[in-house]
């Protein structure tokens, strides 16, 4: 196990290095100019050169990249172009706990609703409950998060206009602000997990050892929850890592629609203004989250399935 972990951690460092290089190069090669974005419609060649020098953009790309990597290794993410030289970490740090708590809440909701729903559907496969719930889950999975977010927001407007109880359409800080962003963010993952659980459960329920369990007189609860679910969970745990990536991607849209001051909110503004230091840091940070989550998944995987543990 320690050897396995060490190998995975080294891989992780390599992945992060690659991501930093790719985001840097994409930023460097993509059309659009952060200094011109800063100056708006106006053109002032002298000032333009001065600002380019000031932000180090007149240096060749490899020098800029080397400077960036050295900074990151020393814990300095650089300075924002857009926000008058404010340190990137300064802009990102308030967003981290917000995005993390929003993402965890959404993930928890999708697991807590999606998995039981999938189990229930599998118990009476092809019954009315199965068909109805799985159609809903397929819809949640298929409809893009910006549509769901927009619909939830419009729903609140309609509720408000009809003097019905409603939730705030945007903002952050109060408990009621959580409901809609969490719903919008959880929707796709929830649908995915429910359908995956159902399929996985149905597969497991056909196995011989389940028949054995029934034969030795185990009760329905014990068969479904103890024998079937435990094995059915393996593919579900496997996708939890990638699901984090799903939630991260969704947060870009959902945080913007509901004005949640998280990383996604900061990132979209940074992309629109070519604020490369911020874009690079956000990409790196999110890559770190996704990579660590898939590492955790692998470890969990071993715990759930002893066969995998012994192999490694």
């Amino acid at each position: 196990m320690p050897q396995f972990l060490l190998r995975r951690l080294l891989q992780l460092v390599f992945v992060l290095f690659c991501i930093s290089f790719i985001t840097f190069m994409v930023g460097h090669l993509a059309p659009g100019d952060p200094i011109q974005a800063m100056m708006g419609n106006r053109r002032d060649p002298r000032l333009y050169e001065q600002l380019r020098r000031q932000y180090g953009l007149d240096r060749p790309w490899y020098e800029q990249y080397a400077g960036y990597v050295t900074g990151v290794l020393q814990g300095d993410l650089g300075k924002s172009y857009r926000y008058a030289g404010r340190p990137v970490w300064d802009l990102v740090k308030q967003g981290v706990p917000v995005s993390a708590s929003l993402g965890l809440a959404a993930l928890a909701l999708s697991v807590l609703v999606g998995v039981p729903l999938g189990v229930l559907a599998s118990v009476r496969a092809n019954g009315i409950f199965d068909r109805a719930s799985m159609t809903l889950m397929l819809t949640l999975f298929a409809v893009p998060s910006f549509v769901i977010a927009g619909l939830l927001q419009s729903l609140q407007v309609i509720l408000f206009q009809n003097d019905l109880p409603n939730l705030p359409t945007s903002g952050w800080g109060k408990p009621e602000n959580w409901v809609m962003p969490v719903l919008a963010l959880a929707a796709a993952t929830m649908g995915y997990l429910a359908r995956l659980t159902r399929a996985s459960m149905i597969g497991v329920l056909r196995q011989d050892y389940i028949r054995t369990a029934w034969a030795k007189g185990a009760g329905a609860r014990r068969v479904y929850m103890h024998h079937a679910l435990r094995n059915a969970l393996i593919p579900i745990v496997t996708v939890l890592g990638p699901s984090v990536a799903f939630v991260v991607v969704g947060s870009f849209v959902v945080e913007n629609v509901f004005r949640v001051p998280g990383i996604g909110f900061v990132a979209v503004q940074a992309i629109n203004t070519r604020d490369y230091p911020v874009i690079q840091s956000v990409a790196l940070l999110l890559a770190l989250v996704v990579a660590v989550m898939s590492l955790i998944t692998d470890v969990l995987y071993g715990i759930l399935d002893p066969r995998i543990r012994t192999q490694s």
Binding site: A30, N41, L91, F265, Q269
Partner: protein, 579 residues
């Protein structure tokens, strides 16, 4: 919907009801009459040192009982003011926020005339190159300390200081003596600005200018407390002290700024407001979210920034509501041609393309009353727009003839490039169709992501041979003066002249007009002649001037919509939502 016509005599204004609302407690004030010396350099035909009487409301006590109203103002387009430092702020939303905390020596009134603010009066020398300002007696920063002339000198110097690195100082303040060298790092002092005594400031200019006070009115000319800035470190602006109507109470990052009245504001403390929230809506979704928040009563004002108005799909639903305000603004959308490349190096081709667009149809497409067709460069309301211009009106027969007379190769591929945003695709599709129908010319429309488009415009400026052929662009006034529209757009080589339009006669006329100060009418006439040349030669192909569409809750009073954005002439008359 009201059809807004442009007034040629004065600036077209949509006035909101400015009456005080209901039985709200008003702050205890006395009305003093103070004598203010004022020099009008724009409207008058002669520089005269006028003595005008201005009614000044002075609060009796610095902290009267606060009111209980809250006003929540949506700032669409950005999610976070990166700074509140007037030397560094650049987004129009952040510039607005800054203007509530800090103020300068002068201000714009609702007729867009220059009025005294931190300065009580000023005089202009005979050669019109030296301004001497007297600071307002007893003027204090919001932390209670006295404002001195040194504070102002410090602030202006800072705005131009290359080490501070602001983008706007060298643009707005470049006419101050020595500013160009100082901001370029070639000298370490700014000789043009001096404190003659603690109450008196002298500003010397490089050349006479009728629009200098407009430039000084921008945030880069605001007064900063030297002590506040130097003691506050790099993020001094998180605890700012200014002479504006409000102070910063709380900064909720990526959410909002919470402002409270500045008890030391000289011109009527907005004490009826317990709080003014500037709520930031960033990202592409910002305007739609703000609209939904407005619907549920979470904000009181939306759509107040020209670049991020109410999304056009919502306008038909709300345009008949009393909340809906549609006002002309100083924005013109136009097509620019690259005058260095075939076929648009030929003036006849440009004229043919200009005369082949039926702008009345275009306005119908955009929604009657939401924009005005534009056949000239100055939008209605900018001084000089009252003088007539003969535009290149729609005439398909003449257009075809012009094209036939021109050196035009019908096999050349033509591309019209634009930034993919808002209603742009709709407009471009229409124009391409017009050229096909009325000229028989096929033009390809090329949409680009905004920053990519902006980059291509820069390329076109720097290296026209590799630049765009033609582009759909927009200009919004920095200040209400024709110099900002003619000299700074179409003079040979100036920064905004991406299409490289060049005409020596035009240059001569605007150069003369730029330094004319004493005779305002003659100055506007020079600009008018220059504008006529640029219109004839299609320096721009002006299309339309879009209205500002905003929504304001009926209980909000005291705001005035001008071409230059919303102006609040008297903050103590502004009402919000009672809590």
């Amino acid at each position: 919907m009201n059809k807004l016509r442009l007034s040629t005599a004065a600036i077209a204004l949509a006035l909101l009801a400015a009456a005080c609302g209901g039985a709200t407690p008003t702050p205890v004030t006395v009305v003093q009459t103070s004598v203010v010396k004022e020099t009008q350099v724009v409207k008058e035909t002669q520089v005269v040192q006028q003595t005008v009487q201005v009614q000044v409301q002075v609060p009796v006590t610095p902290t009267p009982a606060p009111g209980n109203q809250v006003l929540r103002w949506a700032m669409e387009g950005v999610n976070e003011p990166g700074t509140l430092d007037p030397a560094l702020a650049s987004d129009s939303q952040v510039v607005f926020a800054t203007s509530l905390l800090f103020r300068g020596l002068v201000q714009l009134d609702s007729q867009l005339r220059i009025r005294p603010d931190g300065a009580e009066s000023w005089t202009v020398s005979e050669d019109t190159k030296t301004y001497t300002f007297k600071l307002r007696q007893g003027l204090k920063f919001s932390n209670g300390t006295d404002v001195t002339a040194d504070d102002f000198v410090f602030a202006i110097t800072r705005s131009l200081d290359p080490k501070v690195g602001g983008g706007n100082g060298s643009y707005y303040l470049s006419n101050i003596l020595g500013a160009a060298d100082f901001s370029a790092g070639k000298s370490t002092t700014l000789p043009g600005v001096t404190a003659l005594d603690p109450q008196t400031i002298q500003i010397k200019l490089e050349q006479p200018s009728a629009y200098f006070l407009y430039q000084l009115n921008f945030i880069t000319g605001y007064i900063l407390s030297k002590q506040n800035v130097t003691a506050g470190g790099a993020k001094w602006y998180e605890k700012p002290a200014g002479t504006g109507p409000f102070m910063l109470k709380e900064w909720q990052h990526n959410q909002k700024l919470v402002l409270v009245p500045n008890p030391y504001y000289w011109a009527g403390v907005p004490n009826q407001l317990k709080e003014l929230d500037l709520v930031f809506y960033g990202g592409d979704q910002g305007s739609a979210t703000a609209y939904n928040d407005y619907q549920t009563g979470a904000v009181d004002i939306i759509g107040s920034f020209g670049q991020a108005p109410i999304p056009s799909q919502f306008v038909p639903q709300v345009k008949d509501l009393p909340d809906f305000k549609s006002a002309p603004q100083f924005f013109v959308r136009y097509i620019g041609f690259n005058d260095t490349l075939k076929p648009f190096d030929d003036v006849k081709v440009r004229q043919a393309f200009a005369r082949a667009i039926d702008k009345t149809q275009l306005i119908k497409l955009l929604g009657e009353g939401s924009a005005r067709a534009q056949d000239r460069i100055l939008p209605g309301g900018i001084p000089g727009s009252e003088l007539p211009i003969t535009g290149l009106t729609f005439d398909p027969a003449a257009a075809k003839q012009l094209l036939a007379d021109a050196r035009f190769d019908p096999t050349q591929k033509l591309v019209l490039t634009y930034g993919a945003e808002g209603d742009n695709a709709k407009v471009i599709e229409f124009i391409v169709q017009q050229w096909k129908t009325n000229l028989g010319v096929n033009v390809t429309a090329e949409p680009l992501e905004l920053q990519t488009f902006s980059q291509r415009l820069t390329d076109t400026y720097n290296d026209p041979a590799k630049g765009l052929q033609m582009y759909y662009s927009v200009w919004g006034a920095d200040y209400p003066d024709p110099q900002n529209w003619l000299s700074q757009q179409l003079r040979t080589g100036v920064g905004n002249n991406n299409g490289h339009y060049s005409n020596p006669e035009f240059d001569k006329l605007v150069d003369q007009a730029d330094v004319e100060v004493k005779d305002a009418a003659a100055r506007l006439k020079l600009y008018n002649q220059a504008e006529q040349i640029a219109v004839n030669e299609v320096g721009w192909l002006p299309l339309f001037s879009p209205n500002a569409n905003a929504m304001v809750k009926p209980y909000v009073t005291g705001l005035v919509f001008t071409g230059q954005g919303i102006i609040v002439p008297d903050w103590s008359a502004v009402r919000g939502l009672a809590q």
